[in-house]
Symmetry: D2
Subunit: 441 residues, 4 copies
């Protein structure tokens, strides 16, 4: 089965048309070659399209079935369907002119009759990818193994009570990690969607944490063995599908990495909607990851402020996105990471066009946010305000308090001797918020 010769209502790669244009089939803000802080916009943003949401999700939700009825979703020959899907996917990459894509193994190729065949299916499609990547410019931002959809994973993958599932997962990850390496992927992601629990009553929590730590070490060891130079990334999420997921948020993942001795080896892939589900702002999770030295990449999307689950919407709010971009720039920008649209069009957006326009809109939101964030950084007024606020710490006797050798006793003695009486100073939040607002355009 083949995808129709022309699935999308566009043929040529979309171009920059400028902010004044009303043409929906062009970028109003994303001008990939524009220099921002001395770097091309494309190299800053490193956009990636996600295979899962865009080509594999059928439009279902917990109360309703599929709405999309894509041509490659129904048919007897599953590998033929997978090939048709790949054609459409690379067509979208081309139209959007994005430098990267990302995939889960099970999104690109069907489950086979057994482990071996399943892995072989992935390899077969990966070979098609390799050829398509040669003739295009698109590269692989990351690959990952889907260790959550099949019923064998219902109680976890690495943390499953059944060791055979652990073994199966190891074999599956080995395959995708190698495929990712071979395709020149820049990162490998682990999202532990089922690494958690539904109820503590049937769970051996310390054991599961140990299994997870061991599994992660196995992956890192294999990465080094095969010479993969990319980054291993964990994607935190607090819950959903499980009631509790171990990789709850950036702070928790950092602790688990320390416990596994891997805080120098593994970084995080921060998702906007996962951040908010965990009770954090997106920019907080980025800043926290940067502060802990584990910032890697992001899954760009947004949640619905009134919905308690992962809605994975395309970002629409420039101002919110600019605050995240600012933290990314402050962290030095991406190294191997990028901006992956882990976002899905709404279930009612059933036209092929919707898929194109959703990405165009989101790319523009990000580009515009980048320009604003760059202004914020270059102008320096924000950083100056922060520096002034902490300026007291430049005094020698104050710096000394943070060094080895300081003691409560000595500090207390000085505090009493100097009769310290610290006076609060305005945090100036509204002034800074208004300042930020002045960069919006």
């Amino acid at each position: 089965m083949n995808a129709p010769a022309r699935f999308f209502p566009a043929d040529e790669p979309l171009r920059y048309v400028g902010p004044l244009s009303r043409d929906p089939y062009g970028f109003r803000w994303y001008d990939k070659d524009q220099l921002v802080l001395g770097k091309r916009m494309e190299d800053h943003l490193r956009f990636a399209v996600a295979y899962w949401h865009s080509f594999t999700w059928p439009g279902g939700d917990p109360f309703g079935g599929e709405t999309f009825l894509r041509p490659w979703m129904h048919g007897a020959d599953e590998m033929a369907l997978a090939r048709a899907k790949a054609d459409v996917a690379f067509e979208l990459f081309r139209i959007l002119d994005v430098p990267f894509f990302c995939f889960h193994d099970r999104d690109i190729a069907p489950e086979g009759a057994n482990l071996k065949e399943s892995n072989a299916n992935v390899r077969a499609i990966a070979e098609i990818f390799a050829r398509k990547m040669e003739s295009s410019k698109v590269r692989l931002l990351w690959g990952t193994a889907n260790l959550f959809s099949h019923r064998r994973f219902m109680s976890g993958a690495a943390t499953n009570p059944d060791p055979d599932v652990f073994a199966w997962s190891a074999a599956q990850v080995k395959n995708v990690l190698e495929v990712t390496h071979e395709l020149g992927g820049e990162n490998y992601v682990l999202w532990g969607g089922r690494e958690g629990y539904e109820t503590l009553l049937n769970t051996d929590l310390p054991r599961e944490l140990d299994q997870m730590a061991r599994f992660l070490n196995l992956v890192v060891e294999h990465k080094h063995k095969i010479g993969f130079k990319g980054t291993i990334l964990i994607e935190p999420k607090p819950q959903e599908p499980t009631k509790h997921q171990y990789d709850f948020d950036v702070g928790t993942v950092y602790g688990l990495l320390c416990r596994a001795g891997l805080e120098k080896e593994v970084k995080v892939n921060v998702e906007a909607n996962h951040a908010t589900l965990a009770g954090h702002s997106f920019e907080h999770e980025i800043a926290m990851a940067a502060a802990l030295g584990i910032f890697g990449s992001i899954d760009m999307n947004k949640g619905d402020a009134q919905s308690g689950w992962d809605t994975d919407q395309f970002p629409t709010n420039v101002e919110d996105t600019a605050l995240a971009m600012y933290e990314i720039l402050r962290a030095g920008g991406y190294t191997t990471g990028g901006t992956n649209f882990d976002a899905k069009i709404r279930r009612q957006s059933i036209d092929p066009e919707d898929l194109v326009l959703a990405h165009v809109g989101a790319m523009d939101v990000c580009a515009r946010a980048l320009l604003i964030a760059a202004d914020m950084l270059e102008d320096g007024a924000l950083q100056k305000a922060v520096d002034e606020r902490y300026a007291g710490w430049n005094e020698p006797q104050n710096r000394a308090m943070l060094r080895e050798g300081a003691s409560l006793e000595a500090i207390a003695a000085r505090a009493e001797a100097d009769d310290l009486d610290p006076q609060p100073r305005s945090g100036r939040q509204e002034r800074l918020e208004t300042l930020v607002s002045s960069y919006f355009r």
Copy 2:
């Protein structure tokens, strides 16, 4: 000024009256000498009354002023008021017959004209405590410094942009840590109510995390210097009063402890309502702390399931409390920790009697929960179900996967060679929940 000769409508220590009694001035379930799993109930539960909520909070909320109008809350001579308050406090300890109490320095003694005087005020009241403790059986579960109420702390204590506040905080903690030591306190608690931020825009996040880590090291070093054998406890909370608090939850605190090199030195004081505000169940946070080796003590209370802030209500639900008690028992019970009622009577509960009855009701809820949890543990059916679920991991080839020397390669090879096809097995959640229900009484 003296508290009235008789503030509470009870004089004698309350006694166990049994479940069939309807006398509100007696314990229906808390029978302190009853042996549970070979230990006296009192020694299991180690109840503590909190000075703050019970004697210092005036009944205000963000939309209304005080309602309690306690005799010791209004007057010119603040130290006299503090002494009157101490009389009432120890009267309640006596009536409730609790083995412990807890305090913040600022709750027991007024702020003085300067640091020195403030610390001296605390020492003066502590001496009164020492005398009262001699003539009663009540002991100190923990002391702590209030580093959040005064306006000097509005931007943090250890994490303040102003180093003078850091110094002040160090001096204040030194004083309370020493007072706690001298009063035979079993723990010292740090709750970083203002160690966080209102907006990232005015915050140097990495710097503040460093300040916090250094401060914590100073405290631990001083503990050792003065020979305090108690436990240093951090009390996680995700937010409130700040928008974001660094000690977000148990998992995050563990990571920060690792970063500070203190994961063997410091434990956590888990509060029920803080757990739920962070998106966790209370029992999760206890189990997580136990799994990470940092379980210390608990602040017992409950939040309102529909309110998004810390309501600090007295626990009322035996079944929920039993699940927490079960995790405490599974963790081996308390060592230096205890069950501190960090709970406040509702703003409308203005009668002195309400304070007594709220504690009696809560102590009974906990005692009943302990009995249930002990049954759950002794019966062993729950543990047996868990053990069976993970039984596969007892097989040598499976245990081997978790040991050094295992590799993805070898595991994958075996998985393919054995043609593994793991079949899901029921998690039996409803059955286990019904089993748990059968222990309730």
Copy 3:
């Protein structure tokens, strides 16, 4: 295709075995003939099993596919599968010895080639139901039309922008309402799962509210035309699947009923998990419905306190359930309503046994809760405390303030003349909570 001769691991209707029994295949608290407040327990609780969750849901979630693989879920002859499902369903009704069941049309019979055939399918299965109901004691609590799963409903049913969907929905409801009438159903339910919106940007809100009001009037008119004596029930839910659902909660539904002139014609079916998703306690929604005169029936289940979506778990907490039962008793109990288990076993509970035991456990939770609630009511201490609290309103001059003829002017004059100075009195919350606790057994 036929269901296996024996799908469940039980054959005979389960019996009451008493609280001391550990036999999971018996009721520890549900003793249907036991008199409670002068009425048989069965007649109080009026339990119903829901077709949807128990027989139609395949165990999928947004991140994973089916886990249950029931024999009646896969096959070519969909009507044969539907008949096999009906056999299993009535087998479970028999084993559980419940007096009622509930269904959505699409759960009992497959979608046909067109509207006519779809409706005919429902009628065909309904005829089988009719025969099965004759030979058993089970009755129909309510029927309802599934106007949300098929993609035609993706933008709503009565509130769809496409009038043809409105027409289709009208035809489908007509069919199920008549089938419900013919099967002797005691109520007819409308849950507007898609009657809401994803974004205001594409929505004509006033128009959609008008469509909904008109649709509801059509249904009520048809009910009278066909002589259906049962109650029309709306089931409020704040969101999910839609971002916003018009029937948000009981208070909102009441307003919309007033707007449609139907507040005397239509009542509500209150679901526990929907209540908590809307920011209310379950007992609040019941009490509110009773106060507004629209309490009808309940969907019994519970949500997960940490999950932001509809988890539809079987109730496990006796104390929480007792508070809901108390409000039902205070409202006078059910008339046409009942306790429908709109609850699903967890996705990992894949054994047929899990389905039986989940219901048994939940029925016992409700029965135990009923006994407690009855004690609370009979004892009268709670009601007495409430009556005393409002006793001042029995004074003539106070009652007069609430009557026609009173005026701000006259009341103000009296308040000043009498120099009123109202003093707050304790709300005694903790005392009452402890009192409630004393009824638990």
Copy 4:
């Protein structure tokens, strides 16, 4: 005691300086005389400064005391302090050049020795207001009575179990309603901060709903008696300070108004942060109020997306605010209502300057949002997309379904006869969101 001759670091009314200016003491977007959709910007926005947050709140929070230490907050002569506060308030009104202000009686004047004196205090300050208003252009948007801060209201005002509190509240509202009328106020607001409950256990819900309905009728009757032509507004809030507040949200208030027979007499004052606490977007509550015919005015602010309480922050997000402004414009704009900044500077924003700059920033956010919303409206592309989506309803046979005389029977017959098979059409959400984004500037 007098406020300092010059409290704020500005003297002259601030002027429009244009978007390119970086002068914080000027409006970058708010140009009051600019015509927007044919109306002056000032007349569109009708800004009001709130007395409470800006001049009365001392900077406290549940974990810390006051931080602001305003000169008018401490002193022996409370009426002198109130006059000093009035001077500062009108100075800010002048600097900001706002057309309106709003007040609670207790914010402007201290509680007296009794009801009579308290009311007299309010009248005394109101007379000062009257004089100040004569010599300035500022007018009164609304007045309201504080029926929640004093301990007498701890269990409610109109819904208090104590009828004397009902009477007191009636007298207090009478006074403020008349003062509001005399000052030419355009609305009178009722926010029922304590009209709700902490626990159902001590609450007679139907009785309290009746008390509230009666109270509201008394107020409406008095309004007519004194000839007040302004609008009576209820301000919905779901909770806080109470666990549950009866005026939960717009939908619920509408129902209660219908129950009281007042849906034509009373409108709502929609607050952004109250909307989000109730699980709605701000724009939803505005659109809902408009659809129900009860849209009156707004309290402009924003909540923190991660905090579960009312943070009342100044709005900062232009895009979010534009969506609210668009709904206001679609509703026809304000009649008697306006944009009241029910917003407070953060507790750490202790400089007088912060108060000025917070308002300036927020006024600019609203002005910019208004310009965007006007573009959205004028361009018409959004409305066109909506109209097209519902175009099918213009067909005669479809319109007929919504009219009297239609029946389920007839509609069903036609649906079957025509063999309707409605096909879903894309909701185009992402396209519309991108379109909205294109209006931002």
